[in-house]
């Protein structure tokens, strides 16, 4: 950018490095620039659908002062400030793959509007650079082109402003700034240095400098822009701004004006402090402000008396320093103010979550019994007394806390009915927990007397599952483990596969004493060792009856099938390894080249097309076997539609039309697929309902469940980006392999199968390219088949697209367990285990985050993970409801 560099180094400009606070997403950043306040993390969710900004902002003040504002660029501005612009042209930012059109949309207005000159403020928001970052990262050759394009735009504006300046009395100000930076991967949202540091250049003829005057860019806050702009435009500073005036900007003005500006800013900040802090008078910033105000008064008196200019100057600079100090302290204490936590509400939430978790944990032995009954004792008078007492205590605490609360509190802000409901829930849960606990303690003696059946001894697999879950939960306390959580899951899944392979080997080689086959000797020998380490030193003493693999199974399975059983863990391992190299995710290694990037680059479109078609074919082959003929046809057409959709939006191509230029949004194709998805889901539901009416028809229910499952697969195929289609295909492949060769022959119980499904679901969540970082959510899934942004379907589709892995594995679990008829209570066991295994990490994480709330990375690492966990919990709740519904139908049948 030669022109900009010239301006920064020699021209009439001031340049700064403005530090943006995370989340570095567009909407909160625009808010920060215009209001000067610090937007929270909730704004990330609102980033997609920005509601109108109600707070005070520079734009609102300018509008109130009758300034005419013109805006071209990112649509977010128009949504944030509706009716504020006299003229605007919003460019929607959701076609991330497009980086020329979005900028041409802005530039095409430029000549006209510069010539016209009937505006006071012109805002341009160029999107192209951000989009290039999203597509191909910061090292893309496209970046250079884009930057020189931006340079020419800047030059055009600057020369036009300079030529105009002769006619107007006041100088113009040209501000060049970025809303956020770009990480190593070209994304943004987190808080790495590259994402947080943004340029800020103020160009105006008022900043003329003498030759040799070198101005080094200072580090400032992004929130300072709002205050500076307001002062430069002669407007009141926005009410909630915590920024301080960029002092170099006004340095050229006379002393009196400088002091006046600083005074304005400190008055605004101290007003804000008065509103937010009850004990504001003791704040050091406020004291400094009072002091400098007094000094300022003295100076004014001197000034009016017109004493010696030297005395005046000395005193003036003293006042100036005082003001700047006051500003700094005020700004700091205000920023710290924002980071205060609503402890009371957090505590209430944590307590409720912990109570539920304890209840679940306490009922483990009861729920996993043969009968799977979970009765909750409620009706003893002692407990109802306890219940009322707890309610009374809680409401008393509530009243005390809320009346004495200093800062705003979410829970106190709730209506009395809602708060009362929460309190009733909390105390009821407490009572139930206590009663279950007493039951366990009192009744604990009876079951202990009859010894546990020897076959229920823990195998290595159970030990691995327990240790793995515990290890994962513990790892959530460290920020780098949260960042790289995918590694934990990959590692656990791999170990699970090795343990499974050890189990298969033991069943087939030690069960019958036949000569071990030659080809697998070494691996076999090692795996015996590899997985044998799962058992502690105490375990191998006791005799363990080989309950899982009775000799009869190994006699039935001979020849090829046996080989498949032995090889399937290794096949699964190989699949996982391939998927792992498809999407590099996380933080540390996210910039490594991966297959996904290779495929999405425009040179490899043919390979991508072949791969996508192949994966769709595999999906069809694997899914169709359980379907009825009608839905088979629907599935085939639907998958064809998926390919057509991807071809229509230009990410893959047809062999007979190698270079089609017409890129559309593919709305018709996508809606075509939606019809089939709904059709398949509908048939599935119909079958399920029918199976409930005709009690004997068990097979119908299995078919219905499979159809629902295949409908979900089709939806996932539509929403996944083409380079992620192999993830779907491999997931189905692994499910088939596991079902056929591992779970059925080895006869795992429902709890083990559930945990394995959960682990694989989590691993596939990361195989899709997700991470615990907001930036990796693929929002384009929310716009498939939609013309404009419609909130509810977009949110639902994005959620499904993101959590497709866990959801698909969970629905496969339902189908698998209900198709296996060996144990009646398998489904309810599975439901319980699924709820438990999902809630343990979440509740531990909530406690951890609450205790780590002053951690350095709380906003950049822990909060996004909390959002993910919350979303995951919602999904899990939906899955559990589905489970219970299925279980209900089973109960009505029997």
């Amino acid at each position: 950018m030669p022109y900009t560099t010239y301006l920064v180094e020699k021209g009439a400009s001031h340049s700064f490095v403005a530090e943006a606070k995370p989340p570095t997403v567009t909407m909160p950043r625009i808010k920060a620039l215009m209001t000067g306040s610090l937007p929270g993390f909730v704004d990330v969710i609102r980033n997609l659908n920005s509601p109108a900004l109600l707070e005070d902002s520079v734009i609102r003040q300018a509008k109130a002062a009758g300034k005419r504002i013109v805006f071209y660029g990112d649509e977010t501005w128009v949504k944030l400030f509706p009716k504020h612009f006299v003229e605007y042209d919003g460019t929607t930012s959701f076609f991330v793959s497009d980086y020329t059109e979005v900028d041409n949309n802005v530039t095409r207005h430029l000549d006209k509007v510069l010539k016209r000159g009937d505006w006071d403020i012109l805002i341009l928001h160029y999107l192209g650079l951000d989009h290039i970052g999203h597509i191909s990262g910061p090292n893309s050759p496209l970046i250079g082109q884009k930057l020189s394009e931006m340079d020419s735009v800047l030059m055009k504006i600057h020369t036009s402003l300079q030529s105009k300046e002769r006619e107007t009395p006041l100088p113009n100000l040209l501000v060049l700034c970025g809303d956020h930076g770009m990480s190593e991967t070209g994304s943004h949202g987190a808080s790495s240095t590259e994402e947080v540091n943004t340029p800020l250049i103020l160009i105006s003829s008022a900043f003329e400098r003498k030759p040799g005057d070198i101005r080094h860019p200072k580090h400032v806050q992004q929130t300072d822009v709002a205050a500076t702009l307001a002062i430069a435009l002669g407007l009141p500073i926005p009410k909630d701004s915590v920024g301080s005036l960029l002092f170099p900007v006004v340095e050229g003005r006379p002393m009196r004006e400088q002091l006046r500006f600083l005074h304005l800013n400190t008055v605004q900040l101290s007003k804000l402090l008065q509103e937010n802090v009850p004990s504001y008078e003791k704040d050091p910033g406020f004291e400094q402000f009072k002091m400098s105000e007094r000094l300022h008064g003295n100076w004014i008196r001197l000034y009016l008396e017109e004493k010696h200019s030297e005395v005046l100057f000395n005193l003036g600079s003293k006042v100036l320093r005082q003001y700047l100090d006051a500003l700094k302290t005020l700004s700091l204490s205000l920023s710290a103010q924002v980071a205060q936590y609503d402890i009371y509400s957090m505590m209430v939430g944590t307590v409720v979550v912990l109570e539920v978790l304890t209840l679940l944990l306490l009922s483990v032995p009861q729920a996993l019994r043969r009968k799977a009954e979970l009765e909750v004792p409620l009706s003893s008078p002692g407990f109802s007394l306890l219940f009322y007492l707890v309610i009374l205590v809680l409401s008393a605490v509530h009243v005390i806390v809320c009346t004495s609360a200093e800062s705003s509190c979410y829970f106190c802000g709730l209506s009395w009915l809602a708060a009362g409901g929460v309190m009733v829930l909390a105390s009821a849960l407490l009572c139930v927990t206590v009663s279950v606990l007493t039951n366990v303690l009192v009744g604990g003696n009876t079951p202990r007397k009859n010894p546990v059946h020897p076959s229920s001894r823990w195998s290595e697999l159970d030990l691995l599952i327990l240790l793995g879950t515990a290890g994962h939960v513990l790892s959530l306390g460290a920020s780098s483990f949260v960042e790289e959580e995918h590694q934990t899951w990959y590692f656990l899944v791999n170990t699970l596969c090795l343990a499974l392979s050890q189990e298969t080997y033991r069943n087939y080689f030690l069960g019958d004493d036949g000569e071990p086959p030659c080809g697998l000797r070494v691996e076999q020998g090692h795996d015996g060792a590899t997985a044998a380490w799962q058992d502690g030193p105490g375990c191998d003493v006791l005799e363990r009856d080989k309950g899982h693999g009775s000799p009869s199974t190994s006699e039935v399975l001979r020849g090829r099938e046996k080989w498949m059983v032995l090889a399937s863990p290794w096949l699964i391992l190989a699949c996982c390894r391939l998927l792992r190299s498809l999407n590099q995710t996380g933080v540390q290694w996210a910039h490594r080249p991966d297959l996904g990037h290779w495929l999405t680059s425009s040179d490899h479109k043919a390979e991508l097309s072949v791969l996508a078609a192949l994966s769709l074919l595999i999906v069809f082959v694997l899914v169709q076997r359980g379907c009825s003929p009608v839905s088979k046809a629907a599935l085939a057409l639907g998958l064809l539609g998926v390919y057509c959709y991807r071809a229509a939006i230009g990410s893959v191509r047809f062999p007979w039309r190698p270079d089609s230029k017409d890129i559309s949004k593919g709305i018709i194709e996508a809606r075509f697929v939606y019809v089939f998805v709904l059709g398949i889901l509908f048939t599935g539901t119909k079958d399920l309902l029918k199976s409930q009416v005709i009690a004997a028809d068990f097979k119908l229910k299995t078919v219905g469940l499979w159809e629902i499952y295949s409908g979900l697969v089709l939806l996932a195929a539509l929403l996944f980006r083409p380079h992620n289609l192999p993830v779907l295909a491999f997931s189905l492949l692994i499910q088939t392999l596991m079902t056929k060769f591992i779970w059925k022959p080895l006869r795992h119980d429902a709890a083990e199968i559930t945990v394995m499904h959960y682990w694989f679901g989590q691993a596939f969540f990361y195989f899709q390219g997700n991470s615990n970082n907001i930036a990796t959510v693929d929002i384009s899934a929310g716009f498939v088949g939609l013309d404009t942004y419609v909130e509810i379907p977009a949110v639902l589709l994005t959620a499904f697209g993101t959590y497709a892995g866990p959801v698909l594995w969970a629905s496969h679990l339902v189908h698998f367990l209900s198709s296996e008829t060996r144990s009646g209570s398998a489904l309810s066991h599975a439901c319980f285990c699924y709820a438990l295994i999902c809630s343990i990490p979440v509740s531990t994480y909530i406690v951890l985050v609450t205790s780590l709330r002053y951690h350095l990375f709380i906003w950049s690492v822990f909060s996004p993970k909390l959002l993910y966990e919350g979303m995951h919990l919602l999904i899990t709740a939906a899955v559990c409801v589905f489970f219970t519904a299925m279980d209900q139908t089973r109960l009505t049948q029997s």
Partner: protein, 206 residues
Amino acid sequence: MKDNDIKRLLYTHLLCIFSIILSVFIPSLFLENFSILETHVTWLCICSGFVTAVNLVLYLVVKPNTSSKRSSLSHKVTRFLKCCIYFLMSCFSFHVIFVLYGAPLIELALETFLFAVILSTFTTVPCLCLLGPNLKAWLRVFSRNGVTSIWENSLQITTISSFVGAWLGALPIPLDWERPWQMTVERKRSTYRSLHVPCRGLGTVK
């Protein structure tokens, strides 16, 4: 008899640990710029060589397995060759497992392979020394309660703890250390090994 065995077992383990420690210090006398952290590749080679040598020497000296009645030379040679083939195969299969666990396929292949070699020297070599290239015996030792002598028991425990150490060595990978992961794993693993061996050795004594 048993006490005698335990004493010999203790000495072999102490010798093994001593050889690992020696492999850290001795090369610095002969090689320039030698340190574990910077020239870890060389160190790995030397370490695995030392451990193999110590194991072989111990096998020849102690001879816990007094089954070598057939002493024809050709038989010995085929036995030795078979052992070598088994060792190589174990190295390669470990390498495959590491790659499946996520080690990069092409870059750092040498490090990964050396890790496989050193893991084999800690696991396969003692097995080969003690049990010979006899898979049935291996299966017997590594299945539950198939252990017949204290030597086999110690073998089982050291092998298993080596695997656990290697497995646990992956824990620091996600931490923010800008180092190749194998290095971390190896260092961690060797500390685990040196921790585990005496512990387990003492455990078997009791």
